[in-house]
């Protein structure tokens, strides 16, 4: 049941041989060794596995069959870092605000925030809170995450 598929991840084509029903998350992590997206619930409830599709849509990857994204671009946390190693303003803002504690949910916050900033360069607090609605954080660094997204929007 495996098939040869080509994914467009972080600006590069990637040939993979997998069961097309496999959720994107497992392929990103186990075939492409991308550790940005995390397994949190597998139920699209927590946002740990968030990726950005087509440059501006944050979407959980834990239930999305890999066959559904063949004609889309996929950006993971790794893909926000520029080829020269410099950081996306939002990555930098998360450092400047010292946002995470354990950092496990950071992927979801940064990817949702990046998609928001791609759509709206100057979001207000309500828009930021709404854009992060799908992300759960148990260390509870929410208020720092909101500050970081505001800060990145002011760059």
């Amino acid at each position: 049941m495996e098939a040869d598929l080509t994914l467009h991840v972080n600006g590069q084509p990637h040939a993979v041989r997998v069961d097309p029903a496999t959720p994107l998350l497992y392929v990103l992590r186990n075939q492409l060794a991308l550790n940005g997206p995390k397994f949190g619930c597998g139920l699209q409830q927590c946002g740990a596995c968030m990726v950005v599709l087509n440059g501006n849509l944050a979407w959980p990857s834990c239930q999305l069959p890999v066959s559904e994204v063949l004609h889309m671009t996929v950006t993971t946390l790794e893909g926000l870092t520029r080829p020269d190693g410099s950081l996306h303003p939002l990555q930098q803002a998360f450092i400047d605000e010292q946002v995470p504690q354990c950092g496990y949910c950071l992927n979801g916050m940064v990817m949702c925030g990046a998609a928001l900033l791609a759509q709206d360069a100057k979001p207000n607090e309500e828009e930021i809170r709404n854009s992060l609605y799908r992300v759960l954080c148990r260390c509870s660094v929410h208020s720092r995450a909101i500050k970081a997204i505001k800060r990145a929007s002011e760059v």
């Binding site: 992590r29 397994f39 597998g42 740990a48 990555q91 010292q98 992927n107 992300v135 148990r138 660094v141």
Partner: protein, 753 residues
Amino acid sequence: MPQPSFLVFSLPPTSRRDFLKNAGCLTIGFALLGLATEATGGPLADELPGSLQDNPRINAWLEVLSDGRVRVLTGKIELGQGIRTAVQQVAAEELDMSLNKVEVALAETDRTPDERYTAGSASIEQSAMSVRYAAAAARQKLLTLAAQKLGTKLTQLTLADGLIQTKDKKRQLTFAQVLNGAQLTDEVRLPIKLKPKNQYRYVGKAVHRQEIERMVRAEEWYVQDLRFPNMLHARVLRPANYESKLVKLDEAELKRLVPGLLKVHIDGSFVGLLAEQEYHAKLAQDYAKLHAQWTPGRTLPTGQPLPDYLRKLPNTPKPVANQGSFDTPPAAGATTLQASYFKPYLMHGSIGPSCAVALFDQGKLHVWTHSQGVYPLRESLADLLKLPMETIHVKGVPGSGCYGHNGADDAAADAALLAVATPGRHVRVQWAREDEHAWEPYGSAMVIDISARLDPSGRITHWQQQVWTDTHSSRPNGQADKLLPTQYLAQPRMPKNDGAADFSAGGYRNAEPLYVVPNLKVDAYFFEGPLRVSALRSLGAYANVFAIESFMDELAEKAKQDPWEFRLAHLQDERAKAVVRKAQEIASQQQLAEGEGLGGAFAQYKNKAAYVAVVAKVRIKEEGTVYRPQLWAVIDSGEVINLDGIKNQTEGGLIQAASWTTTEEVVFDAHGVRSRQWESYPIYRFDEVPYIMGVTVLDYPNKPPLGAGEAAQGPTAAALANAVYRATGKRVRELPLRPEKLVDEPERRQQPG
């Protein structure tokens, strides 16, 4: 010790190299150089921390590396609390090195000191202070050795950034040259001269945690990210309910449905499902869950309010405090008040479900785990597998934040059992969301009764408190029987509930008020409750402080006094008063709109760690939700090591505790736990989270540092309940502060959308 040869990851080459080189911790610091000569006198330590007494040699804590850096070893694990940065700070400080020349190795058996569990907000007090003294001792020894080598006096030498120089700068030695390949094996002994605090460059400052840059680059490795060549992926089919036994699982049908399923390992009611692909292990678990047949298992109590049920359970009493007398009848004009409080079962709710990797190869077992105690886990695994301790190696790797004893040890035991059954291959066990929700050991539900007597002037003369609770520690602690899979093997071993004998004394943590009351009686009653329980951030302190601080507001009202003044009148400890006064000042500056309420609360965690006061300002939405409360905290945790670390821990504590307090409750019916994913156990989402208005840190550089990570939990609960009372007139004594308790039914409307 050479790196074990099995440490090979399929990771990008640069990152892999760094990871291997640094065993989980990179340092990318800012270089700050400073000079301090040995002529300057520093404070002398007067007592060594327990961890250092147990592991007295310098090289247990600190190694000099050949490239000019030092490696600090801590027996604690990084849980997101920032312990890596704190130990890096204190070591860099005492050795006058830049932070990026200090790397940190986390808990690993036969590698780092045995510091038992990373728990109880004790990592700074124990581990960081041990590193401080070991580094100070290392400094003295390195200088002494250098003086001998250079044939000069100690006072003629300076030490900075890993280099010892003569004052004329003509001659110098690196630490590595001083030691010439050896390590410092001397025991750390008093007296030890510490660096004068007014010369600190790192300690007390808001130092950036260097792993945060790795996190935003997705280069920080979690146990979930370990990926070894030829590794098998496993899931464990957990029973339908507590104590359910496996009746039937059709392996042939399961393999037909999931062709990628490589192996089904069944030992009694412990079922491991192994596959080459993680997705196939997950599918096998999903199908098996639908098809497996189990006995019904333990019947859980229903049909009466949980507090009533828990109160009636058989219990073991434990006297906590008894002073003064309760025999005298109330004097004329005295008033009495009594109230009962309840806290439900709460979940740790780690965002990443538990995970572990294990390899059994040539008679040796290697385990990678996010357990809070690698040494106790090793002992427990030796007991479980009947393997000699020395054949087991357990390495701590950061995982998702745990906030106490979650499924980490259990997942490690799962992985160890499956690895022993599949020698020669790494086995990665990933718990599903439902596994963590349904099987983690929760924080126990608690019932607390308080009665108190006020004299005519409004002073508390008598205080009597009774606490009903299950144990707050079921950590494996060297035995196998508290590891979940052990209880479901063909030859199961069932754990004994430590109850009142629990060494952590968690049930009555903070059950004694800090307030000065001449006649005080506190008793705890330990029951064995219906759900699996263990340590959750702050243990019993959350419920005890919620009860005491709610009751203090009730008493203040009875005495017709301002609640802050009422607290101050009953406090003796000046540091406690300073925290309360600061919170009072913050509260006094708030303007309240119609329908808003302001409340406060205070506690000293464990009555000996950090002092925290919380101020909450709330308004209640029409349908009854406590809408985005505004929260302030004031904290005194003694000497500040990392200012931003304390702030971040306190901010997180405020929000997490607000989520517990307003929203959370583990739900079960007769057939088992029903809170099995986030929709049936909701925690705060971004649209609900409070506004953090400020965390004020009172720094006492010359006092010992006090554990801070759990100190905000209790005061937050009571501050919210007190604020809700002011806003609504409703005194809620049973958590959580659910809408139906805050708004009368006819007025309550359905929340739109």
